[in-house]
Amino acid sequence: MNAGTTAAQNAAVAAARPARQSIRARLALTVTGFGALLVATCVLAPLVGSTPLSLVRVFDRTVPFADNVDAQIFFIARLPRVFAAALVGATLASAGVVLQALLRNPLATPFTLGVSAGAALGAILAITFGSAVTLGPFSPVPLASFAGALIAVAIVYTLASAPGRALSTSVLLLAGVTLNSFFSALILFVQYMADFTEAYRAVRWLMGDLDIGAFGPIVATLPLAIVSFGMFALLPSSLNLLSVGGDVAATRGVDVLRAQRLAFLSASLATSAAVSLAGPIGFIGIVVPHLVRLLVGVDHRVVLPASALFGASFLVVCDVVARTVMAPLEVPVGIVTALIGGPFFLWLLVRRG
């Protein structure tokens, strides 16, 4: 898969440098470059795995689908996983960009607010006790996860917003830290109460897992993701000004309270979409936006779409690593991203200090 990705990477790097190009040219170049990278990774990633596939055989129209084992593995076994990775990567990376601008802190992540912990608690409750509950075609896990995320958001938002005043960053961050500890304690309690099999499933899910095995869960998450991306599209120029300062943003024509609410809500929606699909996969929201800023500068009108596209490619590649590094064992992808993201985060801390 090297040739394709390298070409796409070159295109992405060519989009690099804030330079003297107009914003239109930079945006077009960036979207083309990172878009090409994403298409390349999505086509090539399903070819990698315990059974090597050939792209020619996968798309060989002379063999009926029922007899084409390569096509079956490609489309049924591996492609859902690749799409899930792309969707989760895109939503988590974008949510990271939005939260970092909203909190004026480049180290903020979707996880800083406790939203993912809330989502995880909901999912764990459903995994442990929800087997008795049936909701027609829906699995209770994503719904409970989404409910948990929304509760977390409501708590953080209520704590952080005093009437008529701008959100206080420090209150927001502290509320998030507190909620994280609180939800984690509840998750541990639920696991303590659960029997061994259920506890194992829960632990496995908490590691972050893209092995969803069908398109159904992706389709179920899609509306949530689409709404959040629609809201993201309204935000970039406000995010630029918010990250310079709340008062500056107000005097440059931004309706600060409305922009903050939109940012907060959209990032929360995106995070819960990702968590309900694949568990709390960490560090995407910090690694991807930082790499993207190194390549294309810091203007959110470029950074946000670039992070969505690059976040998708990034998690698809991480998942290929997770599937192959200890084959035939599959490592949960959350462990791979944490092993990359942890040191990266520390490096950022040291560099900033």
């Binding site: 008529g164 630029n240 440059r252 024509g253 810091v298």
Partner: protein, 262 residues
């Protein structure tokens, strides 16, 4: 053009009470007063960032609370004391953000906006810094870039909150010259909150003296800036005299006033 009509504002332990001022078009008004007298609050009320508890701030008769932020930002720009962006924006990016109120929600700035930004950079003597990262600039350079960014809004009125507070003498003079030119040559109406009496004396046509959240005096600079007023405002005995070399009034503090009028 912009006026405050009996404006009061409560902010924790601190109040601004019954403040009425009028900023005529084309004027250069200085807002003076000791620390904590409410200068910054007054400027935030006049830019609509804060809402008064009582009274109204009016832009040509219209309460600014009724004007959308976008429309207001096309007419009034603000230069705060200090600006700390969370990311490494280039100078050009910082300045172009001034075009925000003139662009639609999905519009990207075009050649016309770029020309306005370049002109603002030139007017503030910062054109050579366009590709530098804002956070790597010196204090004086940063402040001039922020003024350029405010000018890119094409405002009729510019509110400045102690823009020279953290600058050394050379940069202070640069900013002063720039502001004087903006007022005289471009007809921008200016409101300047400052601690620096001599800066205000050299630039401002009108002064507003604030003490403990109330107006102590307002009027033409020559009428308001007197030994008595400096004593009542700061509790300081000072020499106030016309300096023929500088061409304006100068204030030289001599000693604390006896009895501490403050």
């Amino acid at each position: 053009m912009l006026s405050a009509d009996r404006v009061s504002f409560g902010y924790a332990d601190f109040e601004l009470q019954d403040v009425s001022i009028d900023i005529p078009r084309g004027s250069f008004t200085g807002v003076l007063g000791p620390n904590g007298c409410g200068k910054t609050t007054l400027l935030k009320l006049m830019s609509g960032v804060l809402k008064p508890r009582a009274g109204d701030v009016l832009l040509e008769g219209e309460p600014i609370g009724h004007i959308t932020r976008r429309r207001l930002a096309r007419r009034i720009a603000v230069v705060p004391q200090e600006t700390h962006p969370a990311f490494d924006y280039t100078v050009m990016e910082m300045v172009l953000m001034g075009r925000h109120p003139h662009l639609g929600p999905f519009a990207l700035e075009g050649p016309a906006d770029l020309a306005i930004a370049r002109e603002a950079l030139a007017a503030t003597g910062t054109a050579h810094l366009a590709d530098r990262v804002y956070m790597t600039l010196s204090g004086g350079e940063k402040q001039r870039v922020i003024i350029a960014s405010a000018l890119t809004q094409s405002p009729e009125l510019l509110l400045l909150d102690e823009p020279t507070a953290s600058l050394d003498l050379g940069y202070q003079l640069e900013i002063a010259t720039l502001l004087g030119n903006l007022n005289r040559e471009r007809g921008v109406t200016l409101v300047l909150a400052t601690h620096d009496l001599n800066l205000a004396a050299s630039l401002c046509s009108d002064l507003v003296l604030l003490r403990e959240g109330r107006i102590l005096a307002r009027g033409r600079t020559g009428d308001v800036l007197t030994t008595t007023m400096v004593r009542r405002l700061y509790g300081v005995e000072a020499d106030v005299a016309f300096h023929p070399g500088a061409g304006h009034l100068t204030v030289i503090p001599v000693r604390r006033a006896e009895g501490g009028v403050r």
